[in-house]
């Protein structure tokens, strides 16, 4: 049996190592949400949000400036209401900016990209982003494509006849 002192020392080391590992996992591996104190909330109405999820990034020029807070369906206007929290460091976003739902990469998740407008007034807490662009739904796109092609096919057939 080793002396009590050595046992205590190595147990202490073990416990500290365990907590250091937990600390590493929580702070280094995960994304910390922007703290709520220094952020403001804006919202936008979308016809179709595709597969956008709460927690998705809100980015301007590819830089993440905030996160999607919540998504609900409003029965009054039959649209999806997306609430976004934006870091108050970015407080000079013109009111006429437009928010569009985009997809990162082929298999990536969806996020909101804000294209900056030209107004002198800036978005503040509780404002609505008026100009929006819905998510591209792949099925609709393919349907349109198929429709266009088949129409063109019919036209060529007609001209041949």
């Amino acid at each position: 049996m080793r002396s009590t002192r050595a046992v205590e020392l190595s147990t202490g080391l073990f416990v500290l190592l365990g907590f250091a590992a937990l600390f590493f996992l929580v702070t280094q591996i995960t994304n910390r949400q922007l703290s709520l104190n220094d952020s403001y909330e804006v919202y936008a109405h979308f016809e179709n949000i595709g597969s956008l999820k709460p927690g998705a990034a809100v980015s301007i020029a590819g830089v993440t400036v905030g996160r999607v807070e919540s998504i609900v369906f409003d029965q009054q206007i039959y649209k999806a209401v997306v609430r976004m929290r934006i870091n108050s460091r970015y407080d000079k976003i013109p009111v006429d900016s437009d928010a569009s739902i985009m997809t990162s990469g082929l298999l990536g998740g969806q996020y909101i990209g804000i294209t900056v407008g030209g107004a002198d007034e800036y978005l503040k807490d509780g404002d609505q982003i008026e100009f929006v662009q819905d998510a591209l739904v792949l099925e609709n796109l393919i349907n349109q494509l198929v429709a266009t092609f088949s129409r063109r096919g019919e036209q060529t057939q007609e001209t041949e006849q």
């Binding site: 416990v15 590992a21 929580v26 910390r32």
Partner: protein, 255 residues
């Protein structure tokens, strides 16, 4: 007819064993407040179960991470999305591989030691001697060992996961050339604190389950050399099966 009776008998003995383990668990829980009065004993058991398992946990974590790096890279490069290696392997380690492999290793390394130690104490009448001296063996022997295991497993799990991610990084980034920035930033973007908590919860549950099985098997072992050996084997088998069973149920509950 005899087959049916044998089936019923084994079913009854299974139910009885489950009941006995549950009662044993309640008895251990009842002794925990009084066991806490002697933290020295618990520290010693955390040392036995945790600090002594450190080397095997770290070695296995490193190799699991490295093989995950190889396999993950091979799979992902077929789709041209090697950058997702960090996310995929981190989530796999945090949610499944870390807790489960740690629990299996713990059952093999520390659970067997607990079971055979307590079993031998019974075989050599040490537990009876304690009772003669009005020392409750539950408080003096069982509860500290149980608590030591419960504390050690979640900590070991976290160490395993961290070393594992280091292993993935070692193979994926250093050797196979996945972009380091993409590796870490994609991991950070899609792993949530709740994912880590899932791993912690699993580690705690597996720790309780494996420690309980080990002390129960040891305490109820037949007091012979053969009986202790059988208790040790049963500890590993039951711990492994229980861990995988609980893992499925916990995953289904938390997903």
């Amino acid at each position: 007819m005899t087959l049916l009776r044998e089936l019923l008998d084994s079913l009854r003995s299974f139910v009885a064993t489950v009941g006995a383990v549950a009662l044993f668990f309640v008895r251990v829980l009842g002794q925990i407040p009084r066991a806490l009065l002697r933290p020295g004993l618990i520290v010693e058991q955390v040392y036995n179960a945790g600090a002594l398992s450190l080397v095997i946990i770290m070695t296995c974590g490193l190799f699991v991470g490295m093989v995950l790096g190889l396999q993950g890279y091979d799979l992902l490069q077929r789709f041209g999305s090697e950058d997702a290696l960090g996310t995929g392997s981190a989530l796999a380690l945090i949610k499944e591989l870390g807790p489960v492999v740690t629990a299996l290793l713990f059952a093999g390394r520390a659970g067997t030691a607990l079971a055979s130690e307590i079993g031998l104490m019974r075989a050599t009448d040490q537990l009876a001697a304690m009772e003669m001296m009005a020392v409750d063996p539950f408080r003096r022997v069982v509860a500290p060992r149980f608590l030591g295991g419960c504390i050690a497993v979640p900590l070991l799990t976290m160490i395993f996961i961290s070393i594992g991610i280091f292993g993935v990084q070692l193979i994926g980034v250093q050797q196979l050339g996945v972009d380091a920035a993409a590796f870490w930033s994609q991991m950070r973007a899609s792993v949530d604190v709740s994912d880590v908590m899932e791993g912690v919860i699993k580690g705690c549950v597996f720790g309780v389950a494996c420690s309980l099985i080990a002390v129960y098997e040891g305490y109820t072992a037949t007091p012979t050399a053969e009986g202790v050996g059988r208790a040790t084997t049963r500890t590993v088998v039951i711990s492994a099966v229980l861990t995988l069973l609980l893992d499925y149920m916990l995953t289904a509950a938390m997903l």
